[in-house]
């Protein structure tokens, strides 16, 4: 069994009467990338702030590497690298100057700081722009510089709070690549997002957060099977007056659970989409013109929908 890097028990936080975080319990294993997936206001940042020890919890406990974490408990802080949701950099300084400043505050001595600055610049791909002021950067570059500072003091647990918010698809991909890389290099990562594709791509396990409560925790596969979601085959096309017959035809196939008629065609709920696809199309084609087909495997979006009755991004 792998060792636990982060252990969160019964964590709760209220702002006035509003419960931001409600009795959270979860853990992150060494080398694992753990995703916290939740919509706006679900409590992701509040949770991350408490784990980073900059916000006091009302109750519950946080342990990083076995040591308690809190605003007055600095023991484990060296093991935690925080990448805040906002660009937490001095924009009037260069990235190298920012790194140097935050490195000093982490009590990194001169030689180690210098060497490590080069390494993190390499990791985030900003070496050639390191001496430019941050306010001269694109949004994506700022995001990458933001991550670099979190990595600087070689934490064992990296907290990434929505690191791709507001960046173009290309920069986003670049960031996801780096995070994937970091995860593979053995770093433990907590990754918060409200993009389920990011969680699906990066995370070994995912916690689904809504209104401050964890609704479910597990690998994507576990979560999907827990909510009993099925594959879907979405067929678009024209079936005109023969729709009824077409539906009746595919329903006779083994593995087809149900068929919905939609405005653009048919949606088949099936046990295994790839196994049944060819047969389904063969059954349908005599009754109309199939213009497109798409397989939808159950995803975290569907899990979220099933757990909350709402879409992830409302």
């Amino acid at each position: 069994m792998s060792s636990t890097v982060l252990e969160v028990q019964g964590l709760a936080k209220k702002f006035g009467d509003r419960t931001a975080v409600n009795e959270l319990s979860f853990h992150v294993d060494a080398g694992e990338t753990f995703g916290l997936l939740g919509p706006n206001g679900s409590g992701k940042t509040t949770t991350m702030s408490m784990i980073a020890g900059i916000l006091g919890a009302d109750s519950g406990s946080i342990r990083v590497g076995g040591q308690p974490v809190g605003p007055t408990q600095h023991g484990a802080k060296g093991q935690i690298g925080l990448v805040p949701q906002d660009i937490a950099l001095y924009e009037d300084l260069t990235t190298r100057e920012n790194l140097d400043f935050f490195g000093r505050l982490q009590n990194m001595d001169g030689a180690r700081r210098k060497a490590r600055i080069e390494q993190v610049l390499e990791i985030v791909g900003l070496r050639d722009r390191a001496d430019d002021r941050v306010d001269e950067y694109s949004g994506g570059m700022k995001r990458r510089a933001n991550i670099a500072v979190g990595l600087l003091h070689e934490p064992s647990l990296l907290i990434l709070d929505e690191p791709t918010v507001g960046v173009d698809p290309q920069s986003r991909n670049q960031i996801l690549d780096s995070v994937e890389h970091l995860g593979q290099s053995g770093l433990s990562v907590i990754y918060t997002t409200h993009y389920m594709e990011e969680a699906e791509r990066l995370c070994d396990r995912v916690g689904i957060l809504d209104h401050g409560s964890l609704l479910a925790v597990g690998s994507q596969r576990e979560l999907v099977s827990r909510v009993g979601q099925e594959d879907r085959i979405v067929v678009s096309g024209v079936f005109t007056d023969q729709t009824e017959i077409a539906v009746g035809e595919v329903m006779t196939l083994d593995g087809v659970r149900s068929v919905d008629v939609t405005s653009v065609g048919l949606e088949l709920n099936v046990s295994d989409a790839s196994a049944i696809l060819v047969a389904a199309l063969a059954a349908l084609s005599p009754h109309g013109e199939v213009q497109g087909v798409e397989i939808r495997e159950p995803n975290l979006e569907a899990v979220f929908l099933s757990l909350t009755g709402r879409a992830l991004r409302d």
Partner: protein
Amino acid sequence: MNALSAHAMFTVATTELRRRLRSRSALVTAFLAPLGLAVVFGTMLSNTEASTFDIGIVDAGGSALSAGVTDELVSFDEQASDEQEGSIVFTVVGSEALAEEQIDDGTIGAAIVVGATGEILVLKSPDRPISAQVGESIGYSIGGSLQTGLTEPTPLATAPLGGRPLNVMAYYGASMAGLLLFFTVGTAARSMLEDRDNSTLPRMLSGPTNVGSILSGKVLAAATLGALGFVVVWIITTAAFGATWGSPAGVILMIIGTVAAIGGVSLFIGGLTRTPQQAESAQSVVGFMLALIGGAFVPPTDTPATLRTLSRFSPNGLSLQGFSALNADNAGIRDLFPTLVGLVVFGLVFGGVGLQLSKRSVQI
């Protein structure tokens, strides 16, 4: 780990200075603004009544003694003239009533009325506070020496100012530089709130650093710029306008004390405010009020007694008291000691409370 870390403080202070130098705001706060103030006040004060203190003398007693005193005053005029070119002009005025008239129409700023037995009455113009101040101090000092010479000492000898008149330029230089400090040192609290808002503060706090060390570093940087600005006012008023501030060592100590006191107060204000904008406007309002109470605009000796007492509770008032003692009484460092202690205590008390308050106000 609630202790302040000198390393963190220094790191924050140097970065703060670097950023301010880069944005040129340091140039403005530490150099251009003080320079501008010094030049404006220097020019204003050297071209107006400040350079000529018109003081009337009334021989109201008609005795040999009062005539002698009048002579003494004239000789004082000459002494003073040697020291400071044409700064005090005495005119003999026929009667007390005539003196009042001349004060009203602005011909003179004060009148020293000498009685038959050497008692001194000083009439002061509300419109020419500086001449009035000078007249009063001369009157008192002459009265004091007369009384001690002739009869036993009387309370009249408690002259607020000694042998030479208060140097107006030095007084207003110190007062304006003190006012400016609220803006300069006040930027520390503002910078802290900005850091809270742009997440650099949370990032700092995610490491082994605490709010106290960060804020202290910012105050250190702002206070350095504030002290530099003060020094600029001192140098410019002295070099370009002939102000006499008094012993340089004393002036330096007073600058440090003043920066400490005002730094403490502005930390306190910073701790009470929640946004950078609030911090900025609160600093200006409180700064102006404390400067006003402290006599930055009208010397406290020209104001009612209650205000004079009140002025001691303003860091500006305390500071000006020390600077006045330096430039008018030629006070030594030993004489400044109580004022300096007062300033530092002021700074520590308000700064300490402000630091505690700030821990709450920067709550993420």
